[in-house]
Symmetry: C2
Subunit: 180 residues, 2 copies
Amino acid sequence: MKDKKSTVIEVATRLFAEQGFDKTSVDNICKAAGVSKGLVYHHFNSKDEILQEIFVQTTKSMLEMNKSVPNEPPENQLVKLIENIFSQLEHDKLFFQLNLNLMFQPSTRKLLSHHIKERSAALLDSVKKIFDGIDPDQSTKLSFMFIAEIDGVSLDYLSVYENYPLKALKEHLINKYKNI
Amino acid sequence: MKDKKSTVIEVATRLFAEQGFDKTSVDNICKAAGVSKGLVYHHFNSKDEILQEIFVQTTKSMLEMNKSVPNEPPENQLVKLIENIFSQLEHDKLFFQLNLNLMFQPSTRKLLSHHIKERSAALLDSVKKIFDGIDPDQSTKLSFMFIAEIDGVSLDYLSVYENYPLKALKEHLINKYKNI
DNA sequence: TTACAGACTGACTAGTCGGTCTGTAAATAT
DNA sequence: ATATTTACAGACCGACTAGTCAGTCTGTAA
């Protein structure tokens, strides 16, 4: 049986994603999770702390999922990274929207800036290691551009375009990087 | 002399960008603009309406600034578009952050979805017209990819990377598209 | 049986929110 | 000169907010 603290975190994640952090009251969370307010403040010191715990957990699982496979040729690693990220993206749109929301909502952005920086730096680092095996002189620029391409497609996919050609753009990127 | 309605819009834009829509109260806006609540609700029916008016105004000025120059070769138009967008981006970071915030904050996203769709469609349309003059068979895919590259670089620049190599990536994109 | 930890409850506080209302002064029309 | 509309002020309202607190319940170990 699931303990109530985990339930609170799960429910809060869903509500933050659906309604936004500011529009979700602690009372909302309590009601949806079927627990009392006292319990929430027994496990967490503040509403902010719930959010931080969510972000730390998800950062951990994101880095875990995107860790590189060092014994393959770098081109394969890039392709796998692309496939992996886009598959996560399709599988959990709401979660990626939540992340964009948190990163650009001034209040939450300040609250999480440290974690966000860590997450970005970790991704850049692991991509740069791959590009070091392809073109060490330009690996920094190529890494930033690689990340920007993926982020851009993700952003546009998550924004409002109807019938966004995600699959076509994914294939485009895979073809570009598999023979770089 | 500036009328008070414009002052309210200017002040509200700044506060929404700095603090976020939800964390900015109507009283905050009144105080910062030096007007009363009665005035604000004389000119606007709701807080939401202030936001909508801001978004409509900025959409208009954005489309105005990025309208294409039809008598030039398409490659030049692409380069000019890149230079134009990145120069706006550097000039008014806060404003672009506000847009991302509004687009991914569930409450404001719903409120503005119509305007957001219009804006995206207009940009896609004008980019596609350029690519039609380069490679009509692939113009849709190339347009989406072009927009994604610019959006991705912008997104990463606005997020949390320190010392983001915006200039280098801008040059990279210009070189890529000037001889496409 | 007793003693204790800590998970849990829900009423409560102090304050903020968007929005409304009444009133007034100035501008415009008649 | 008088009537009507417009622009504005600020007191006020009820709903909602994050967070607190005194006390209850349950399980476990002595």
